[in-house]
Subunit: 118 residues, 2 copies
């Protein structure tokens, strides 16, 4: 059976943000993200097909949304549910310690079978 | 936008284990579970339609599987991916402090549209 620890195997070298897939199934992906002072490139916005539920486990981060003035600050235990196509960017992550996130990407639509009209 | 903290609003009275839905979408449910010395009733086994990815955030717990001799011990940061219909039970949770779990229930099947044969 698959098992692990979200705080284990954190690479020392984090030149780039690190993304590790934990679960990948039909309509869901669970991943761990490790940041260390990283932020989204200037002018870059995430515009995702899927919704994303994100939780900060360690460290801290600031997220900006294109339709809001305020940066949303996330500290350990804080979560945010980001609807699909809501444009956002990582404004900052803690420069002094590694920030560990858990992200659950999921389809919003109910996955009922398509039954054509008679 | 929905936001919250997984360590907030923990009820003082935990006569029963506590389940709080955080996200409910078509093929996924994210929930927080709070236990305090609880375990599954004698002889009870979970036998779930969906797979479950479970993470212990605080506290500790022991899970038993009907096809394995050993109890799997989970401490903070430990996760386990439990396939659908793999029978399991909570053998114990920490009696001295509250155990906070995050569970992601998900469908395994890819959710492609059903297209009937011509």
């Amino acid at each position: 059976m698959e098992r692990g620890n979200v705080f284990a195997r954190i690479p020392a070298d984090l030149a780039d943000e690190r993304f590790d897939e934990i679960v990948t199934a039909g309509a869901v992906k669970v991943e761990r993200i490790v940041s260390e002072g990283h932020s989204s490139p200037a002018g870059f916005w995430y515009d995702q097909e899927r919704s994303e539920w994100v939780l900060v486990l360690r460290g801290s981060a600031g997220l900006r949304f294109d339709d809001a003035a305020e940066v949303v600050v996330l500290k350990p235990g804080d979560w945010l549910n980001i609807p699909a196509h809501r444009k956002h960017r990582v404004e900052w992550t803690d420069p002094a310690e590694k920030t560990i996130w858990l992200a659950v990407h999921y389809d919003n639509a109910p996955h009922s079978l398509y039954v054509p009209a008679a």
